[in-house]
């Protein structure tokens, strides 16, 4: 029924309306002073400045580096661990309490210790990101391994596969879509953690840029930073959704 309309334009309608209203209440009606709510013009000006002086690029690269470092470390630990725990039930039972208790702790709650242990800079931020995405990746991987169709495992066994081949040729490919889902959730959390970590224990990155700009009442730059984070999240989401489309059969 409603599927027939050409929907390429539809997603752009709401952002444009929001920008128009935003423009009206800031530039035309002048309801707020610039440091309470910067106008779209302020934001474009700020964007131009941070693009020209290279701050936006360095801080974005810096943030992305932390995100990927944390995500990589978490994956290296959580994917193999998830496979083991999903495969050997006693091991999962052994770890279940520890995982259940550590998992709900918000990653930012680790900020005090990350500063005490690693000081200020890149490493504490990476640690926070690691703590944020290790559990989703772990839990999704365990789930993926456990959901492996028993008939496929038994088929492989009756075709002569030993345990190692069952794991490698059946369990891993069948868990892969779940692992990718875990990474997708993980990267979203990683991005959020990075910004929080940068605001407290760091001297670089988009979070740091946002905070310092706000302290100088340069709220235009604050909005630029926020939008860049949003766009990065959007790109990640797009890439992972594409990856999922390719591996979900």
């Amino acid at each position: 029924m409603l599927d027939d309309y050409d929907n390429k334009f539809i997603p752009w309608v709401l952002p444009i309306i929001i920008i128009i209203i935003w423009y009206l209440i800031t530039c035309v009606l002048n309801l707020f002073s610039a440091y309470i709510l910067p106008s779209p013009v302020d934001v474009v000006n700020s964007a131009w400045i941070v693009i020209q002086n290279g701050k936006l690029l360095t801080n974005t690269v810096n943030t992305l580096f932390k995100v990927f470092a944390g995500l990589l470390l978490a994956s290296v630990l959580a994917i193999p661990a998830g496979i083991l725990l999903g495969w050997y039930k006693p091991l999962e039972e052994l770890c279940s309490f520890v995982i259940s208790i550590l998992r709900p702790i918000p990653p930012v709650a680790w900020i005090p210790f990350s500063i005490l242990w690693f000081g200020i800079g890149t490493i504490p931020a990476v640690f926070i990101i690691f703590m944020g995405c290790v559990f989703p990746i772990l839990v999704y991987t365990i789930d993926g391994v456990k959901r492996t169709d028993k008939v496929l495992v038994e088929s492989a066994q009756t075709l002569g596969a030993d345990d190692w081949n069952v794991l490698k040729r059946v369990v891993l490919p069948s868990a892969l879509p779940y692992v990718v889902s875990g990474l997708k959730v993980g990267i979203g959390i990683a991005l959020m953690c990075t910004i929080s970590a940068e605001m407290i224990g760091s001297s670089s990155g988009l979070g740091y840029m946002i905070l310092t700009a706000t302290n100088l009442f340069d709220t235009g730059t604050t909005v630029v930073g926020m939008l860049v984070i949003g766009i990065i999240g959007l790109i990640f989401d797009y890439v992972f959704t594409k990856a999922q489309d390719r591996i979900f059969w």
Binding site: V151, L152, E154, S155, A156, Q157, T158, L159, G160, A161, D162, N165, R169, V170, P173, S174, L176, I247, W249
Partner: protein, 250 residues
């Protein structure tokens, strides 16, 4: 390869801690190259018996012997074709078919692919070799699953109601293909079905099971020449005698 089931019983613990005896004191000798059909009402343990022979379950007491060795775990010697579709969804038809050969390390890749193509050709699926399972119909999937086991040269084929989800036309076609393949390859086949017609068409001997607890009620020799005609008198007579033997409530 011959199979011997000696005094095998199988019980499971159910949720309220009662012990449920699914099979009790099963004794069955299956000769090399024989085609046996297991029929019986639901809950008679025919699938469980098949799983014991496969080594996917171990008997609570008694033993299963295949080719002179006690069966303890699944092996490539005893391929199982399941009722549910069991192709690996992330592999193409060709990759699915050569999976067993890869596992057992038989043959080079080229030889295996050639052999697989020859088999696929024989069931009219060679043009689907690069398709993925989700692109195939149910009948095609089961044909690929059968080819996958045959190509692996498993001397024993264990089939658990493999055609129950198919329409009658497809079912008849695949039954004929099973007979054709058996004449060429001389596998020992144990075929579970609830379809008496199917059993009489395929089997050298039909093992009728009864339930509570599952046990062998009767073994019927099917001495009808092949190709068998489903409307011949001898076919219908055997069919009647088996239907009589089965529970009425089935």
């Amino acid at each position: 390869m011959s199979i011997e089931v000696n005094n095998a019983s199988k019980s499971f613990k159910s949720n309220n801690k009662d012990v449920l005896t699914v099979l009790k004191d099963i004794n069955l000798k299956i000769d090399d190259g024989e085609l046996i059909c297991l029929v019986g009402p639901s809950g008679c343990g025919k699938t469980t018996l098949l799983r014991l022979i496969a080594g996917l379950e171990n008997p609570t007491s008694g033993e299963v012997i295949a080719n002179g060795e006690i069966v303890k775990r699944p092996s490539g010697d005893r391929a199982v074709i399941f009722q549910q579709y069991s192709l690996f969804p992330w592999l193409t038809v060709l990759q699915n078919v050569t999976f067993g050969l890869e596992m057992t390390g038989k043959g080079s890749d080229d030889e295996n692919i050639k052999a697989a193509e020859k088999y696929l050709e024989s069931v009219g699926l060679v043009e689907f070799k690069d398709s993925y399972p989700h692109e195939l119909s149910g009948g095609m999937k089961q044909r690929v699953a059968i080819i996958r086991s045959l190509l692996n040269n498993s001397p024993i084929l264990l089939m658990d109601e493999p055609f129950s989800a198919l329409d009658m036309q497809n079912r008849h076609k695949l039954q004929e293909q099973i007979i054709e393949f058996r004449e060429k390859l001389n596998n020992t086949i144990v075929f579970v079905t609830h379809d008496v017609d199917e059993a009489v068409f395929l089997a050298d001997r039909i093992v009728v099971l009864d339930r509570n607890p599952g046990r062998i009620a009767k073994i019927v020799n099917v001495d009808i020449e092949r190709p068998r005609k489903r409307d011949s008198k001898e076919f219908l007579d055997i069919q009647d005698s088996i239907v009589e033997c089965l529970d009425v409530d089935e």
